[in-house]
């Protein structure tokens, strides 16, 4: 501390050791300034900004060079949205103490963000504009402008104050209270805010008309609505809900029932569908798995069935083979017949007809599998017997037939000649006499058929003229040619019936030997040679 008179450094004495000036009052003024500063600092720490401003102003009145108090005053102004006032205090502070002054930092921070400073300045201009609207009694415009101000600079206390006042003036006490309470969040003990807030609350109470008796709630309690009580406790506004009377037992039971119903409904609509979906998904998975297994089993069964069918068919074929080898008409039997025929031919070479009859037992068998069943030796032996025996048998039949024909025993002649022709269908002579036998018996149809066969199939036959003569004259003149055995009456032009092969002719005859093929019933024409 320096002497205010000479500027010398003061000691612990009550006077200046340099100029002798009494400094007791000066010391007390300095202490008073510091005391105000401390008070302002405490108030600022509890957000009593307006109170802090008052204390700091007192401090500066005592000592204008109290740098700390001036810098703190600038901070409080800035917090209250008065940025220009804050800057002014910091500029003055810096002017008083240019070096090592924290105000430098504040100014630098403000100036480093021109956009923010411009926004603050614009908000202040709008506030002034709103105030101007108020002076012009354009309160609605003022309210709109103040809302914009608070959007731009939400710490501007004077804007909260003015907006609250305008709301109160407009009768919108609820909005006024809300606005003023917002302002109190910045400056808790602002006198103007508090007075307006009380005015707004009083107006609300009066409007609602439901204030509680002061004796019950200590005088400051009010009923904000039917369900709550609002009262002031210090700086806090407390809204306490009213106790509701307990409901009766029936209503409790009803509530329990309703709760159970709601619970069941929730279970039904929320839990059960989820469970059902989960179970359905599990069942679906199991179904898919079982289906896959079933498909695999079915494939196995099909394969086994195919194997069974194949084995059954193989078994059937083998049984057929066994039946073929050992049953009636089997290979063994065929060999047996062939052996009997051979034995008969060896023992009785002249009885060719008997041997031929034995060989006829082979003629009716199925020859389709002959190549597989019969051996080459079998075929050779059969061919030998068939060629020798059949030829001789045919000659013997022919001889017997001609003897019977000449003896006018035409029935026997027909039997023998027919057997002969069956064995050797190339013998036109046998065919001619066979037809003549029918003619002599009076069977003109059969005779005509056989003569026609002769004419058609044996054009070079020596009997063709006789056959044509019969066919031309028919049954009417049959008596004329009955004894004309050679029938050498060549008339030239003859008309013959439709062409028929010898086999066709034979099929029309009741053959006694079962209609067997003459040349080679078993192995075809080649084997009979």
């Amino acid at each position: 501390m320096r002497c205010f008179n000479c500027g010398a450094v003061l000691s612990g004495n009550d006077f200046c050791t340099n100029c002798g000036t009494d400094i007791r009052i000066y010391r007390r003024i300095m202490r008073l300034s510091n005391m105000y500063y401390n008070d302002g600092l405490k108030k600022a720490q509890v957000r009593d900004l307006s109170g802090a401003v008052e204390s700091l102003r007192q401090s500066l009145k005592c000592n204008r060079n109290n740098i700390d108090a001036r810098n703190l005053l600038g901070l409080v102004y800035f917090e209250m949205g008065e940025a220009v006032a804050a800057l002014s205090e910091w500029v003055i502070s810096k002017n008083i103490k240019p070096e090592r002054n924290v105000a430098d930092d504040f100014i630098e921070e403000i100036q480093s963000n021109p956009t923010r400073l411009s926004g603050i300045n614009q908000s202040l201009k709008k506030y002034n504009q709103a105030l101007s609207y108020c002076y012009q009694e354009s309160y609605d415009l003022a309210i709109i402008q103040l809302k914009k101000v608070l959007q731009m600079n939400s710490n501007l206390i004077v804007a909260y104050q003015l907006l609250g006042l305008l709301y109160i003036h407009a009768g919108e006490f609820g909005r006024a209270r809300k606005t003023l309470e917002n302002g109190r969040r910045i400056d808790k003990n602002n006198t103007l805010l508090l007075s307006y807030l009380r005015e707004a609350e009083a107006a609300l109470e009066e409007r609602d008309g439901n204030a509680l008796p002061s004796s019950r709630r200590g005088g400051s309690h009010t009923r904000a609505s039917n369900d709550s009580i609002v009262y002031q406790s210090g700086n806090e506004t407390i809204i306490q809900p009213l106790n509701t009377p307990e409901r009766g037992g029936s209503s409790t039971f009803l509530n329990i029932i309703i709760g159970l119903a709601v619970g069941i409904a929730l279970m039904w609509f929320l839990v059960l569908p989820a469970r059902i979906r989960s179970s359905a998904a599990e069942n679906s998975d199991e179904m898919v798995q079982v289906s896959n297994e079933l498909t695999a089993k079915s494939a196995d069964i099909d394969e086994l069935n195919k194997r069974i069918n194949a084995l059954t068919q193989e078994n059937r074929d083998l049984n057929d083979r066994i039946e073929t080898l050992s049953g009636g008409g089997s290979v063994v039997e065929m060999y047996d017949i062939l052996a009997k025929a051979a034995l008969n031919y060896i023992e009785h070479p002249d009885e060719v007809i008997a041997t031929s009859n034995i060989l006829e037992g082979l003629a009716g068998e199925n020859t389709e599998d002959g190549e597989l069943v019969y051996s080459d030796a079998f075929k050779d032996l059969y061919g030998y017997l068939n060629s020798n025996v059949s030829k001789k048998a045919a000659e013997e039949y022919t001889q017997k037939g001609m003897q019977a024909y000449e003896g006018d025993n035409f029935n026997e002649a027909i039997t023998n000649l027919q057997n002969s022709f069956n064995i050797d269908p190339t013998n036109d002579r046998v065919l001619y006499y066979l037809a003549s036998s029918y003619r002599n018996l009076g069977d003109s149809d059969k005779a005509t058929e056989l003569f026609s066969s002769l004419v058609n199939n044996f054009p070079d036959s020596e009997f063709i003229d006789s056959a044509r003569t019969y066919l031309r004259n028919g049954a009417e003149n049959e008596g004329d040619g009955q004894n004309n055995n050679n029938g050498a009456n060549d008339t030239g032009n003859t008309e013959t019936p439709a062409a028929t092969t010898p086999e066709q002719v034979l099929r029309g005859i009741d053959l006694t030997n079962g209609g067997q093929a003459a040349a080679d019933p078993l192995f075809g024409a080649g084997a009979a040679q």
């Binding site: 220009v84 006032a85 400073l117 002034n128 105030l131 109160i168 003036h169 103007l192």
Partner: protein, 48 residues
Amino acid sequence: MIDFEEELKKFHPSLEVEDAETYIHNTDVIDVVDLMIQLAEASRIYEE
């Protein structure tokens, strides 16, 4: 009940940036110490 007109008179235009210089120059920087110095000076003159 507050008087709106009277209350409105309590509000003054806020300082804008353009007004800062004027505000600073017009700020009354005289404090109690200055008064005391002036009193001491006046007393000394009176004694002389």
